[in-house]
């Protein structure tokens, strides 16, 4: 055959069904890439995606709500006359009428601040590029505009809207005249990370964050009035060390200040931080007047009510709260947004709040029951995060798809696998995740969300491609060249079958995980809360691991001794061993734990909780594993003993060198199962107050009435641990099985 290479090439050329598959893959990849590139360049084709709403304001006549979003659009919704504070029996997104909306376009950057002029009802909007526009909402056109130094991270107006303070991404704080648009002055140095700025109502004081500290200046003179760094809850103690030694708390932010607001009378400054807390500072004394636990995530904004009796705080944990003053205790929590709440304000009616969120919605809440009574989307469609995921996925799949197509055209095996994997994941990423996200919406909101038809089409397309790639002629071609011998082709088809099995298996696992995730979302899990306490709960993981590892080591030693005892011809050893097994197997583990921990102290033996746990678990599992070891040792034939003895080995040497290694190999699978059971049973030691995983999950969960969330974290940890252990066990088994017949 060597003399006719052309024939071979011809036989292997891509033809028929395979060529169709190849063209489809290449076209899909190219289009995906094109979509991704134009998306990132800000091109016109986007699958419906919501843009974050960053600012919100209520008009002085309380009839309209303005919201500024990430895409530079200001939308003004007009409240229908029929809308009242009546509490709705049921809120149905699909049936809720949308309000008349008017779009104010022109901003090039994200609209970060909106204010209504109290008298004229004009709207002032500030974007992140530093452009300030003044609108007459009725006309829908800006009446004038001014420019301040951009890019801007936060601005604040005085009450009469005559001056405006800004802090830029370059960390510079500046004061501007709103009438003239002129710079009045700059304050402080651009030294450290500044995210928030606030101007007192009378325009006299400016506050700006500086890392976890806050600087307050006199706006007229530009002199620094305070640098607020924190103080002890007891006034007498000066330094943090003294304070902590005296068991008092040190009141200060530990992370960057992200939100600031002055009270209407100018006596208090509220500050929110990435450390999730809110502090209220007395401007006269420069001390913390009160502190609030705040949110489960960084604070995004703070706003005083006109009388100064409450503060509205919003957080990255998707909720807004009202904090009562004085004191700062939470008097209401409004949960329901799917993304960080960026801004909130009072209105449009007296018993209502309105909030803007990065999930692309504004929501109107009633304060009596803290329910959503109206919701408006910045744009209908999928959530922001999936929009980005989709573009990212398109980029990845585009590049990989082109690589796969190149390989397919050269009849390479790996390219076929790559293409299959790619299109297996496609439908799940494109439609699965958003779909499940939608299913995860709170149950009180009977939601029917429109999933845009382009996405459904895309998912169908991906599925069809997968089916095409899976078809026998296509799969076989990329497995074995057609010119190959029959034996090779048969082998290849065997491989294809196995591979398809694997790919489908992975797909099913991913799909089921997504499904599990959805079901869990239905519990209205507080994800921000989980994030907040994740590290605290996982702090117990090391203790769990340590207790399991130590107990397992103890159990193995005991089991080995126990097995030797059971096999011994010495009646005393045999008796001790069988008594031990009978006693331990005949009583519940929990009772044993209590005996070790509570019983022994009555004899004057006081054990550390952890040690008691290790002893209880180790002794318990040792008894169960004794039988396993005994069976393993007995399974080693008489011939092995005789062969070793005939070589002059002592009984000890025979046991150590010949019997034990073989017995170990036999007992690994059953012992592995015991290990897995033990790892999970180690959670029982929580009854002794060991600060391990389950204990922490229980503690945090109960304190906050969110046990579901915390126990889910614990469960996930155990699961991951078990999977990892099973993997290791498999590896060990193959290693130990070297000598066995294949």
């Amino acid at each position: 055959m060597a003399g006719r290479p052309d024939d071979t090439a011809a036989a292997d050329r891509v033809t028929g069904a395979s060529r169709t598959a190849l063209i489809l893959v290449a076209a899909t990849a190219a289009l995906s890439l094109l979509f991704a590139i134009q998306y990132y360049l800000g091109g016109p084709i986007r699958l419906p995606v919501i843009s974050e709403v960053l600012s919100v304001a209520v008009s002085p006549d309380q009839r309209s709500i303005a919201a500024g979003s990430q895409d530079g659009m200001v939308r003004v919704w007009n409240m229908p006359a029929a809308f009242s504070s009546a509490i709705l029996a049921e809120f149905d997104l699909a049936r809720a009428p949308t309000w008349p909306v008017q779009g104010l376009t022109g901003h090039r950057g994200a609209v970060i601040e909106l204010v209504y002029e109290p008298e004229s009802g004009d709207l002032i909007s500030v974007d992140s590029q530093g452009e300030v526009r003044f609108w007459d909402p009725a006309q829908g056109k800006p009446t004038r505009s001014m420019t301040i130094d951009g890019p801007v991270s936060d601005v604040d107006f005085s009450r009469d809207l005559s001056t405006m303070a800004s802090v830029g991404t370059d960390n510079r704080v500046a004061l501007w005249s709103v009438e003239t648009g002129q710079l009045i002055g700059r304050l402080g140095s651009p030294a450290s990370a500044r995210w928030a700025v606030a101007l007192s109502g009378d325009g006299v004081l400016i506050a700006a964050g500086m890392g976890s500290h806050i600087q307050v200046w006199d706006a007229q003179t530009g002199t620094l009035v305070w640098e607020l760094a924190g103080n002890c809850e007891s006034q007498a103690l000066e330094t943090e060390d003294e304070c902590l030694q005296d068991d008092k708390s040190w009141l200060a932010h530990t992370k960057a200040v992200t939100a600031l607001a002055f009270s209407p009378d100018g006596a208090l400054l509220a500050s929110g931080s990435a450390d999730t807390t809110v502090l209220f500072w007395n401007i006269q004394t420069g001390k913390v007047a009160s502190s609030s636990e705040g949110h489960w995530g960084p604070i995004t904004s703070l706003q005083f009510d006109p009388e100064g009796r409450a503060v509205l705080s919003t957080g990255a944990d998707n909720v807004l709260k009202t904090l009562r003053l004085p004191g700062g205790k939470s008097s209401g929590t409004y949960g329901g947004h799917f993304g960080a709440v960026e801004r909130a304000t009072w209105g449009p009616l007296d018993t209502m709040l309105v909030s803007a969120s990065s999930d692309g919605t504004i929501r109107v809440w009633e304060t009596a029951n803290q329910y959503t009574i109206h919701m408006e989307w910045s744009r209908l469609g999928l959530q922001r995060v999936w929009g980005r995921t989709l573009a990212g996925w398109m980029l990845v799949s585009g590049i990989l798809g082109l690589v796969a197509a190149w390989g397919l055209s050269r009849i390479e095996r790996w390219s076929h696998i790559l293409a299959m994997a790619l299109f297996m994941l496609g439908p799940i990423v494109v439609i699965g995740l958003p779909l499940f996200e939608v299913l995860g919406y709170p149950l009180v909101t009977v939601t029917r969300l429109r999933i845009s038809w382009p996405l459904i089409l895309l998912a169908v397309w991906y599925t069809a491609l997968l089916v095409a790639l899976m078809r026998e002629p296509v799969a076989l071609l990329y497995e074995a060249p057609r010119s190959a011998r029959l034996a090779e082709q048969l082998q290849a088809s065997q491989r294809t079958i196995r591979l398809r099995f694997g790919v489908y298996g992975v797909g099913v696992w991913i799909g089921l995980l997504v499904l599990l995730f959805t079901v869990l979302r239905r519990f209205k899990l507080d994800v921000a809360f989980m994030g907040h306490f994740f590290s605290f709960i996982m702090g117990g993981a090391s203790i769990t691991l340590y207790i399991s590892a130590a107990s397992i080591a103890l159990a193995v030693v005991l089991a080995l001794l126990g097995a030797l005892g059971r096999l011994s011809r010495n009646p005393i050893a045999n008796g001790i061993s069988s008594f031990y097994i009978s006693l331990i197997r005949g009583t519940p583990l929990l009772v044993q734990i209590f005996v070790w921990y509570l019983g022994l102290p009555q004899l004057g033996i006081r054990l550390e909780a952890e040690l008691a746990g290790i002893l209880a678990l180790g002794v318990n599992y040792g008894a169960y594993m004794t039988e396993v070891f005994r069976a393993g040792i007995q399974a080693i034939g008489k011939g092995q003993h005789e062969a070793a003895h005939a070589l002059g080995m002592t009984r000890g040497q025979t046991f150590r060198r010949i019997v034990l290694p073989q017995a170990f190999r036999i007992v690994i699978p059953p012992i592995g199962n015991e290990f897995i059971a033990m790892m999970k049973d180690s959670s029982l030691v929580y009854v002794m107050g060991v600060w391990e995983l389950t204990f922490r999950a229980n503690k945090v969960g109960r304190q906050n009435f969110r046990a579901m969330e915390t126990f889910l974290i614990a469960a996930a940890f155990y699961w991951v641990l078990t999977v990892a252990f099973q993997f290791l066990q498999g590896k060990l088994e193959t290693r130990m099985a070297r000598g066995e017949r294949k």
């Binding site: 011939g639 005789e642 062969a643 003895h645 070589l647 002059g648």
Partner: protein
């Protein structure tokens, strides 16, 4: 006149009430090859296993290379003597009994390392010689499960030889082998005999008995029936019992 290397006097073995060996005597000279044949259940294996105390004899004395053991002793001194005898008498089993968790090489060096306390390089060098002597240097890193029966038995012989025994006991070394594999093992045993090893062999390989053995013994019902050089044993046996047995197996 040299001394016998194996001296057995009045050896009895009971399994409970069952009297399996009825007081046999045997002298084996150095470099002598003795083949024991006999009907099943005659006590051949038991006799062989008594020699290195895998079975505790019930009465009599056994002396191997000047180490004598009074049969009814006990205690640490006794166990020490038994181990000494076992090192002098290597044994090869019908079922090979290789250690399955060790490679061929590891099987061979195991006892020199643990019993003789040789260092590893020395043990390995010796084992390599032995493995090549049995024709298996290329299989040194294979596990027993990947060796044929004949190869396994040859490794087992190398393993026994690694302890540098004075005598070798073979208990039906070829009975568990496929017919075509018997030759390679018998060939190794012949070479061993030619190199002057003292051998006590229980086997049904009549060729081996005829060509290699210095003496053939018929054992039945726990005692010697007939003993003689192979020429005489196979061609003009004295006992009627021997004639019957030979007629049966030839």
């Amino acid at each position: 006149m040299t001394e016998p290397i194996i001296k057995v006097r009045g050896l009895h073995k009971y399994f409970g009430p069952l009297h399996v060996i009825h007081g046999v005597d045997l002298d084996v000279m150095p470099a002598e090859v003795v083949v024991i044949v006999g009907p099943s259940g005659g006590g051949k294996s038991t006799f062989l296993r008594c020699l290195n105390f895998l079975e505790e004899p019930s009465a009599g004395t056994i002396e191997i290379d000047h180490v004598e053991i009074g049969v009814r002793d006990t205690g640490a001194k006794h166990r020490q003597l038994i181990r000494e005898i076992r090192q002098k008498a290597g044994m090869v089993f019908q079922q090979f009994n290789l250690f399955p968790h060790m490679t061929a090489m590891e099987n061979v060096i195991e006892a020199p390392l643990t019993v003789k306390k040789l260092d590893r390089p020395a043990a390995t060098a010796k084992a390599e010689k032995l493995l090549s002597w049995v024709g298996l240097s290329h299989k040194r890193d294979e596990y027993p499960s990947r060796l044929s029966g004949g190869q396994q038995q040859r490794v087992a012989i190398a393993r026994a030889l690694a302890m540098e025994p004075k005598i070798m006991l073979f208990d039906e070394p070829t009975s568990a082998l496929d017919p075509e594999l018997i030759g390679e093992v018998v060939e190794v045993m012949e070479r061993l005999a030619h190199e002057g090893m003292t051998m006590l062999v229980v086997t049904h390989e009549i060729h081996f008995a005829r060509d290699v053995a210095d003496r053939v013994i018929l054992m039945a019902d726990g005692g010697w029936v007939e003993m003689g050089p192979p020429g005489q044993f196979f061609t003009e046996p004295k006992e009627e019992r021997t004639r019957q047995f030979l007629a049966h197996i030839l």
